[in-house]
């Protein structure tokens, strides 16, 4: 089962880093550390997400997300050890997520990770300055696969605003902070929405007042990204 790891900042700081790109770019191992933070936060939220989902769905969401990112950590750690570049790492991560869980989240997060794999194909490192592109790739992958529109009460009501907030110019730290704020607002806004796609759609107006579990887990992912990058983001200003 999922091994729990210390936060990525601790792990990452213990690793030998190149003198130049250490603070401004992530190598494959550091991206695996990022996945570890996400997996850990999702594992902690397993029950909470399940309960959210139980109100309007079938309560499997916490498990799907936690199991999915646990599989991502296992597969990507192995791939990083083999020397995979950043693009391949995301592709491996996407496939492993999909095969681990299926469900609804499987294809959606697999598409997100595969899209990131395309965006960073052939790259040895992921520049901190390109983080907004990572969010944009996630949002685009999820949107293309799930076809949800804004206001449908899905994870897109978090990923869309977060990606747009990250696109606004500024230092990476500010952009990530804005993205997280937009993500939280988007999550809270799903409370006011009537689900129109997915399983909760069958509940119609009874879904009002409930936070969408996919939106809640998306916020956890984005918050974990920010947490895992805190060490790097702290360096982004002279």
């Amino acid at each position: 089962m999922t091994a729990l790891h210390p936060p990525a900042s601790a792990l990452a700081s213990g690793r030998a880093l190149g003198p130049i790109d250490g603070m401004t770019a992530l190598d494959s191992h550091q991206i695996v550390d990022l996945f570890r933070v996400i997996a850990r936060r999702l594992a902690e939220a397993r029950a909470e997400l399940g309960a959210l989902d139980g109100a309007i769905g079938d309560a499997d969401h916490g498990n799907s997300m936690a199991d999915g990112f646990a599989a991502v950590v296992r597969a990507s750690a192995e791939a990083a050890t083999r020397g995979s570049d950043v693009g391949d790492l995301f592709v491996v991560a996407g496939r492993s997520f999909l095969n681990a869980v299926g469900a609804t989240t499987g294809p959606l997060y697999a598409s997100a990770l595969l899209r990131a794999g395309q965006r960073f194909a052939g790259q040895k490192t992921l520049a901190i300055a390109d983080l907004p592109d990572l969010l944009a790739a996630f949002a685009a992958g999820i949107s293309d696969r799930g076809k949800a529109r804004p206001g449908d009460k899905t994870m897109m009501d978090v990923w869309g605003p977060a990606a747009r907030a990250a696109e606004q110019p500024g230092p990476p730290r500010d952009r990530m902070a804005r993205a997280l704020r937009a993500a939280e607002d988007g999550r809270d806004a799903t409370r006011t929405m009537v689900a129109s796609v997915g399983r909760a759609a069958r509940l119609g107006e009874r879904s009002l007042g409930h936070v969408d579990p996919g939106a809640a887990s998306a916020v956890i992912v984005i918050a974990a990204l920010q947490e895992g990058l805190a060490h790097h983001l702290a360096q982004d200003r002279p």
Partner: protein, 684 residues
């Protein structure tokens, strides 16, 4: 009424002795005189020889002691309590809530009538009244007739549009002015102009400047609130300039006075801001009375945003929308006063016992057990343990039939793998679609050169994963067709049948498909007959107790001791509507009536019936239901060709039943009767 005797002093002689029937309870007598005989409190005081204050205290006491219960019709009560809560929560001047379901008039017409009533109450001679546009605003203007006032001016809140809609700003303003016999002040410019420069130039025109100055003097405004959902009329209004919305207004949830606001009511500024002629949001907030008339659950985010932004201080909406706004704000319905002490409910099921080992191992352990129990029928693929293949069945030239879905529906799906049924099943985690991997492995294992047919219930996860597997299989040269089943009539109205879930009716659909493939029908023909079977299968379920999940061992939703949930699916999720617990016959009728209404069978038609346990409802109860269903079908002159009773398609330990009817035709009857052999269904 008792004759009044105002000057008589109460003394022992004139007092009416308390009639015997009240025993010696003066409260009861006082209450009777007041509520039943309609006496005034003074009359009662005289009759009983008490002070009026004492009578008043008696009557209050009678209410608290439950001698008198004041019943307000529940629908009206709900409307009142929601209106009160909205007023308090958003600090409104006033709030009117109308029933969502009413007479035969559409909601918009009834909202308009309610808005007209509110406006009649507030509008005064000498007022300057601003008005926006929209269907509800026009309905209000049409419902209003209030000619007695003087010197009222009605002014458009925005410029006009040339959109081909009846509810343009111009139409709304002039109709409202007519109804009030008021002077109508237009805004002689388009609401949206081509550029900021054009707007600046226009605003300097004396005519327009004068009109805008009048708008700035408005005492009240009547406005609609628009959602930005695809079905909203804003898209045909001229206020959204083509594709502009997508680029800049994605963070907007609604529109008022032609401006856009985000979820917290903050203005969303885009390129149209400087091209819009009309009142601005800041100026709107300065109008002393701001009456919004809007309803419909799709508008909840928009109305909530308008309330949060303080753009509204009088709200007219309907019960469902009002409650939606409140629940979105975290408000819960509170019981009215303290309800009479209910007999304590039986011990609530808060922890459910289960015979499992580690929860995360349950799916695989159960599957391994099933494979051992039925080792003469099924086996897992060596490299894909969640892909289950029939030992007898798949063969060259035959269409391969692959079914699947989440675990938790046992004996679904491996129970329907075998000769004359499915060739393989892919099993996911608990209530979660399998990933494309095992679906693809199953596809490769059972294809016999004639293509493969996928059949699964309509859930977004299953659709995505099966589609991904189909894409890969097609790319590998295996033709794949998919039929997504939609038999659950409770899950969506008939107009959107394609959005319905696929549930226990799958048993019939798998059977028809298996027989068609077993007869070596080609892929297209198999697909066609399965689609027809799906279109003619109708299912509806009800739950008495929620199921409980493996990890939490807690019920997956709350269901009161006297309630049942109608329209439940097969994943432990809540159903469509909750109602008072009914008897077996009443429950069977509830399900059957809905099914027959849609099926509309003729006398002499044949059906197959499945009475399915959702998990923990015992056979005894299922047979009681079947008995009633058969009785009703006989009375209708419908012939029951086959009856299945048992746990065919479950939802873990949910208590409840689903009823499925397959409306047979000659070919479907033949296919249904064909022999088959599997763990859950064997026909000779």
């Amino acid at each position: 009424m008792a004759p009044r005797q105002p000057h008589k002093t109460a003394d022992a002689d004139t007092l009416t002795p308390m009639p015997l029937r009240y025993g010696d309870d003066p409260l009861l007598w006082a209450a009777w005189l007041y509520y039943e005989e309609g006496l005034t409190q003074s009359d009662i005081a005289e009759k009983m020889g008490l002070s009026r204050a004492s009578v008043n205290a008696y009557l209050a006491d009678a209410r608290t002691r439950g001698i008198v219960n004041i019943e307000i019709a529940p629908e009206k009560f709900r409307a009142l309590s929601i209106a009160q809560a909205l007023r308090d929560h958003f600090n409104l001047q006033d709030c009117l809530i109308i029933p969502t379901e009413g007479d035969e008039r559409p909601l918009i017409a009834r909202l308009g009538a309610a808005g007209a009533q509110v406006l009649r109450r507030f509008v005064k001679s000498g007022d300057t009244l601003a008005v926006t546009w929209g269907r509800t605003v026009l309905a209000l203007a049409e419902a209003l007739d209030h000619p007695g006032l003087q010197d009222v001016r009605v002014v458009q809140a925005t410029g006009g549009t040339t959109a081909k809609i009846p509810w343009t700003p111009e139409a709304c303003a002039s109709r409202l002015a007519d109804a009030l016999k008021a002077r109508s002040i237009p805004i002689s410019a388009p609401a949206i102009v081509t550029s900021a420069e054009m707007r600046a130039m226009l605003m300097q025109e004396p005519v327009l400047a004068e009109q805008l100055a009048i708008l700035a003097e408005a005492d009240r405004i009547v406005m609609g609130i628009s959602s930005l959902r695809p079905e909203s009329t804003i898209h045909s209004s001229g206020f959204l300039d083509g594709g502009v919305q997508h680029a800049h207004y994605q963070d907007a949830v609604g529109s008022i006075v032609g401006r856009f606001i985000g979820a917290r009511g903050e203005p969303v500024i885009g390129p149209m801001q400087e091209r819009t002629i009309g009142i601005e949001l800041e100026a709107l907030r300065r109008i002393p009375q701001r009456i919004a008339v809007a309803g419909g659950v799709d508008k909840v985010p928009a109305i909530l945003a308008a309330l949060r932004g303080g753009y509204v201080n009088v709200l007219v909406t309907d019960v469902v929308t009002g409650r939606g706004i409140l629940t979105a704000e975290g408000y819960r319905d509170t019981p009215r006063r303290s309800p009479p002490a209910d007999p304590a409910p039986l011990t609530a099921r808060s922890h459910v016992k289960k015979l499992i080992n580690a929860p995360q191992d349950a799916v695989d352990e159960a599957l391994r057990g099933a494979l051992l129990a039925h080792e003469d029928l099924i086996a897992a693929l060596p490299d894909s343990p969640r892909a289950i293949r029939a030992l007898d069945g798949p063969r060259p030239g035959k269409v391969g039939l692959v079914i699947g879905g989440g675990a938790g529906h046992e004996p679904g799906f491996w129970g329907y793998v075998g000769r004359g049924l499915a060739d393989a099943a892919a099993v996911g985690n608990l209530f979660a679609s399998p990933p494309p991997g095992p679906i693809l492995a199953a596809t490769q294992a059972v294809q016999g050169g004639a293509g493969v047919l996928y059949i699964y219930g309509n859930f977004s996860g299953d659709v995505m994963n099966f589609d991904m597997a189909a894409e890969i299989a097609n790319a590998e040269g295996i033709p794949v067709r998919s039929v997504v089943t939609t038999d659950d009539i409770a899950s969506s109205p008939i107009e959107s049948r394609a959005a319905r879930r696929g549930v226990a009716g799958n048993v019939f659909i798998f059977k028809i498909a298996g027989a068609a493939a077993d007869r070596m029908m080609p892929l297209e023909a198999c697909e066609a007959v399965v689609r027809r079977a799906n279109a003619r299968t109708y299912t509806m379920g009800l739950a008495l107790e929620p199921g409980s999940l493996l990890e939490t061992r807690r019920p997956s939703f709350d269901l009161g001791p006297h309630d049942m949930e109608l329209g439940v699916g097969v994943h432990g999720e809540p159903g469509v509507v909750r109602q008072k617990l009914a008897s077996a016959d009443e429950s069977a009728d509830l399900l059957l009536d809905r099914i027959l209404t849609e099926m509309a069978p003729q006398e002499g038609d044949r059906v197959a019936v499945l009475v399915n346990s959702l998990g923990s409802t015992p056979a005894m109860e299922l047979y009681i239901i079947l008995r009633r269903v058969r009785q009703r079908l006989k009375a209708r002159g419908i012939i029951v060709h086959k009856s299945l009773v048992g746990p065919y398609y479950t939802s873990l330990d949910m208590a409840g039943v689903s009823l499925s009817l397959l409306h047979l035709d000659a070919e479907l009857a033949t296919l249904l009767d064909a022999p088959c052999r599997s763990a859950a269904l064997t026909l000779p």
